[in-house]
């Protein structure tokens, strides 16, 4: 047995015939880490959480927590004996108890835990004031989700599992809640695995992110690395931030694109001279410069309040996103030309 906090080895998770995750490995070394699992809907993220919680058995592999075997192909500790809390995506509150009773339901477990919550404190942090005496059918979906989260926290679990905890919560509150919850989890060193399909959320909350695509964990790394060093075309496509363009390797520090010209930077992975590669171009890689000779036509503009994302079309029909602040000097209309500062420099040249 290892000294890791959580160890999932070569595990297969099965929800249905089509919905499987194979050969899954995940190690959490330190107590208190927050892990986010990212992936498209229906890929089996929820199944992973349910299996860790013990609601489903695993046909292959092993899951151990704090050195204790929870699940393997011949062992299965019942969910009530695992001290793993799972906060469901849908409303799973006990319908005949009030919100406050629901939250307190978990309180009796683990009296001697390293941390302790007062229901009142959680109610404040999660903005549930005034709902204490209501019944679950009288609160909104987003409120129910937060109550469920509070209930899970009250049970002082060794491992907290969150299934899309912010999916029904409106944008403005979401940011504050993410902040508050991260603070609570970090302060009390509650190890958490959270499932989401929102990469911004994952990047903000997580110490480590796992990207699950086509039945396997494609990449497991820090959010920074996932963004800047995606390890496969699938991950790039899934994150859907940058695009891949055809380019040719010129030398150890540059590639050439038919329209954008020479692009300099450091290769993440070396390629021999002359190799045709696909280069990742992220929205923040290009800089706006009206005086530049390189002028591209704008085909779309997304106004996001603090910034614009322009989509530019190159001569060879690549559609390139460019991110600029929403300052008037950056204001251009669709169909106009948009200048790009040359030569282009990208810190990390990610090529496939």
């Amino acid at each position: 047995m290892s000294n890791n906090f959580l160890d999932i080895q070569n595990t297969t998770f099965v929800a249905s015939k089509l919905n499987k995750v194979l050969d899954f490995n995940l190690t959490i070394k330190n107590e208190g880490d927050i892990i986010c699992l990212l992936g498209p809907s229906g890929i089996g993220k929820t199944t992973i959480l349910r299996s860790i919680a013990g609601l489903q058995k695993i046909p292959k592999g092993s899951i151990s927590l704090k050195g204790k075997m929870l699940s393997s192909d011949n062992e299965h500790i019942e969910p009530e004996k695992r001290n793993v809390a799972l906060s469901f995506q849908d409303n799973s509150l006990f319908p005949h108890y009030t919100i406050l009773d629901n939250i307190n339901f978990g309180a009796k477990r683990n009296r001697n835990s390293k941390y302790n919550f007062a229901a009142k404190e959680l109610i404040e942090v999660l903005h549930l004031q005034g709902l204490e005496n209501k019944f679950p059918h009288q609160v909104s979906a987003g409120e129910a989700q937060r109550v469920s989260l509070a209930r899970s926290l009250m049970s002082k679990p060794d491992l907290l599992l969150l299934d899309e905890p912010f999916s029904n919560i409106d944008e403005s509150l979401k940011v504050e809640l993410q902040l508050n919850i991260k603070k609570i989890l970090k302060k009390n060193k509650i190890t958490t695995i959270m499932v989401t399909h929102d990469s911004y959320e994952a990047f903000y909350m997580a110490d480590y992110c796992g990207i699950i695509l086509s039945q396997t964990m494609k990449q497991y790394d820090t959010p920074y690395n996932i963004h800047h060093y995606p390890n496969s075309i699938e991950v790039v496509n899934f994150l859907n931030k940058g695009i891949l363009v055809d380019a040719k390797v010129l030398d150890d520090h540059s590639v050439e694109h038919k329209c954008l010209g020479i692009i300099k930077g450091d290769f993440v992975k070396k390629y021999p001279k002359g190799t045709a590669v696909k280069l990742l171009v992220q929205p923040e890689d290009l800089e706006h410069d009206d005086k530049s000779k390189l002028q591209l036509k704008i085909i779309d503009r997304k106004f996001r309040g603090t910034n614009f994302v322009y989509t530019l079309k190159t001569k060879n029909n690549d559609l390139i996103p460019v991110f600029v602040h929403s300052h008037h000097i950056h204001q251009h209309e669709v169909e106009e030309n948009f200048g790009i500062k040359t030569p282009i420099y990208i810190d990390h040249l990610v090529c496939f």
Binding site: F88, P95, R109
Partner: protein
């Protein structure tokens, strides 16, 4: 874990087998000796039985359709004096079983009956008997059943009007329909599944009826079955007749299930608002008032008053009838049977829930057919089966005859009630159990609660009310139940129903009044307690 699953499988299987016993028995005895059946077919009696059953069925369906839909329409869409009273008063008709209605009808209209006495009291001596209409035979049976069964159509139609119509009215107004057009083109058609479901229930009760047709000496399939057993001691013929009746029932059963499936889509949505009713004034409210009050009077007040009148007119039966033992017998039967039913239904439901087995779900679907089987058939099939089993065991293993244990015993009676009402209990609990999401159980486990504690802290508190209501509904049914009790009861053991029947079949209607009145009282009391639930769901 594997041990656990086996346990649930076995108990589910046993209960399903038990409940399926009557059908299996009837089917196997039908195929056992075909020749006698052909002989029977040639016999004109059969044609007579079937045509009588059909005529009664047609009459009862027509009357209950008019009574049920019209009254539901009035109380759902209009405001008139007394509407809130009629809304629930009309379901009191459930407290008067058809056979007791028949006793009242006869007591009132017979020669020198209550009507005669009334006329004499008002107008003095006279030869009134010649002019008083006689409601007996087929006519009497149709009237008695219609007044005691129209409640099914009323309750289901009203629920459908009540829950679905508001949005529909708004939508149809928005589309430019007038109020009248929207009623005929939208509301009535959308209530059709509910109306058909109500009528199928009426039809099932009607063809299963034994007490009423027996009292009016109308030969139908049920009386034919009963008589071939009682008079000719011929269980085989009884079972073969049962087969024919079961085929009819089967058609009705599927009609009901099918219609109910359609009615399901009309469950109230979250944004449900009560219908704004149309106020009726003066003249316009006259017809609804007269209609509803006559219906209430005729279906409940009339039989109750008639029975009360005779009870106190012939006080000597207070001494003849051991009231204490009647009350004790009826109520203890009700309590034992209801508790057994509720406990088993809950356990099987729980087993289905935690094992999540599709097989168990199908099995329990199969085992809910018991409610569709007429009491007479059920009781006779019960006797047939246990006689066979006992003979078989005695012959093969030399085990002492165990007929006495099951036939003519409280145990047998409770078992038969169990078979008859299991679907009521099982489905009632199931529909409420399904409202508890699986993720709620899982949350409870994840918070460290064991399966048993989850049942105690989550399931039972949540289901408490509905289990109680279902128990009361079963109790009402058992109090009114006649043929099963009559055939399977221990010697000298009487309930209100069998006592009333016994006196009535000896032409001692005045003596039948007292047990009948008690029966109406208990059933009425339980309906009163559960009226809110009956009006909202069912």
């Amino acid at each position: 874990m594997i041990k656990n699953i086996n346990y649930w499988y076995i108990s589910s299987l046993l209960v399903s087998l038990l409940v399926a016993l009557p059908i299996l028995t009837v089917f196997s005895s039908f195929f056992g000796s075909t020749s006698e059946y052909y002989f029977l077919l040639k016999n004109t009696f059969l044609i007579n039985y079937i045509s009588n059953t059909s005529i009664i069925l047609f009459g009862v369906l027509s009357l209950t359709l008019i009574f049920g839909v019209l009254s539901a329409y009035f109380v759902s869409f209009y405001n008139f004096p007394g509407v809130n009273f009629f809304k629930w008063a009309l379901i009191l008709s459930f407290a008067v079983p058809a056979y007791i209605y028949a006793y009242s009808l006869t007591a009132f209209f017979e020669n020198f009956g209550t009507l005669f006495t009334l006329l004499k009291w008002i107008f003095g001596e006279g030869d009134y008997n010649r002019y008083i209409p006689k409601f007996d035979g087929m006519m009497g049976a149709i009237i008695s059943m219609s007044f005691s069964l129209f409640g099914y159509v009323y309750v289901l139609t009203r629920a459908s009007f009540y829950y679905q119509s508001n949005n529909l009215i708004e939508v149809s107004k928005n589309l430019g329909f007038s109020a009248k057009e929207s009623f005929f083109k939208i509301i009535l058609p959308s209530a059709r599944p509910a109306i058909v479901a109500g009528l199928s229930l009426v039809a099932m009760e009607c063809v299963s009826d034994f007490g009423t047709v027996e009292f009016f000496s109308v030969s139908t399939l049920t009386t034919g079955i009963y008589n071939s057993w009682l008079s000719y001691d011929d269980l085989n013929t009884a079972n073969q007749l049962s087969f024919i009746l079961l085929l009819i029932i089967l058609v009705l059963f599927f009609t009901e299930n099918y219609s109910r499936g359609g009615a399901k889509y009309h469950q109230p949505s979250e944004g449900y608002k009560p219908i704004p009713k149309i106020d009726l004034h003066a003249n316009k409210s006259l017809f609804p008032i007269i209609f509803c009050s006559s219906l209430f009077f005729l279906s409940f007040i009339f039989p109750t008053l008639q029975m009360a009148y005779w009870t106190f007119k012939f006080p000597k039966y207070f001494q003849d009838i051991n009231l204490w033992s009647l009350n004790f017998n009826t109520l203890s039967l009700v309590i034992i049977a209801s508790f057994t039913l509720l406990i088993f239904s809950f356990l099987i439901n729980y087993g289905n829930r935690i094992s999540k087995s599709k097989f168990l779900n199908y099995l329990s679907l199969f085992s809910i057919s018991g409610y569709a089987i007429p009491g007479v058939i059920l009781a006779l099939a019960f006797i047939t089966f246990f006689s066979w089993l006992s003979d078989f065991l005695t012959l093969s293993f030399g085990i002492l005859s165990m007929k006495k244990i099951f036939i003519g015993s409280i145990l047998g009676l409770v078992l038969a009630y169990f078979i008859r009402f299991y679907s009521l209990a099982f489905n009632g609990i199931k529909s409420n159990y399904l409202k508890i999401n699986q993720s709620i159980d899982e949350s409870s486990y994840l918070l460290g609660y064991t399966k048993l504690r989850t049942v105690r802290k989550i399931h039972l508190p949540y289901l408490k009310n509905s289990i109680m209501l279902i128990g009361i509904l079963i109790a009402i049914e058992i109090i009114k139940e006649l043929p099963i009790t009559l055939i399977l009861r221990p010697f000298n053991f009487d309930t209100f129903a069998t006592k009333a029947y016994a006196y009535a079949s000896q032409d001692l209607l005045e003596a039948a009044a007292l047990p009948s009145l008690f029966l109406i009282f208990w059933a009425g009391l339980l309906i009163f307690i559960t009226s809110k639930y009956i009006l909202s769901e069912k």
